[in-house]
Subunit: 124 residues, 2 copies
Amino acid sequence: MSSHARTVRDYWRLADERDWDGFAALFTADVVYDMPQTRERIRGRDAFVQFNAEYPGDWHLSIRRLVADDSSASTLVDFVVGGEAMTGLSFFSFAEDGSIAMIEDYWPEPYDPPAGREHLVERY
Amino acid sequence: MSSHARTVRDYWRLADERDWDGFAALFTADVVYDMPQTRERIRGRDAFVQFNAEYPGDWHLSIRRLVADDSSASTLVDFVVGGEAMTGLSFFSFAEDGSIAMIEDYWPEPYDPPAGREHLVERY
């Protein structure tokens, strides 16, 4: 497992365990967290850790996909909160010392399939 | 650049160029394409190429993020169709010969930020 792969596994494990001291140690001091769907941005390790610690609900997650190379990583997580299942997609960039410097997060929602492609698709 | 990185670069370039013969050569015959948001699935290279060739609009795209390791890859693409900008997130798995065997695609939409985190976020 690459070093970045290990770091993003730790990221999700420590969040799921609410180990906020361990979690905080993964980031650069000026880490940037972007949520492009809402155009929200959080700047800095302290605010980002607080955001996660304050995130409401008894949420839990597991990693379903993880890709990591020498410069970046991405994950797909199954996230459950209050009986609701969500999918989280994240892209990570790293500083030279391996700390997480940037995260970009997406939370796609279900929608109705558009008409016109029924001849090619099945539903599951 | 890893072999899988090259393959997913070709995937998006050939789609953008409408080179459907070149595009088709990237997949296993029984490739599976999943769109979890609509719970739609397409099975097989021929149906998947046809789905892309029939996709409506003068769409174009560019790769913004790409991660690839020895077993999988993921991309974030900026997709434009009819003046509308969308973001596409894809995870790829590969057969032993390097052909694309599975694709899982997400198209997250904008939404309003939930209340209660204004003290930590900025909008952009």
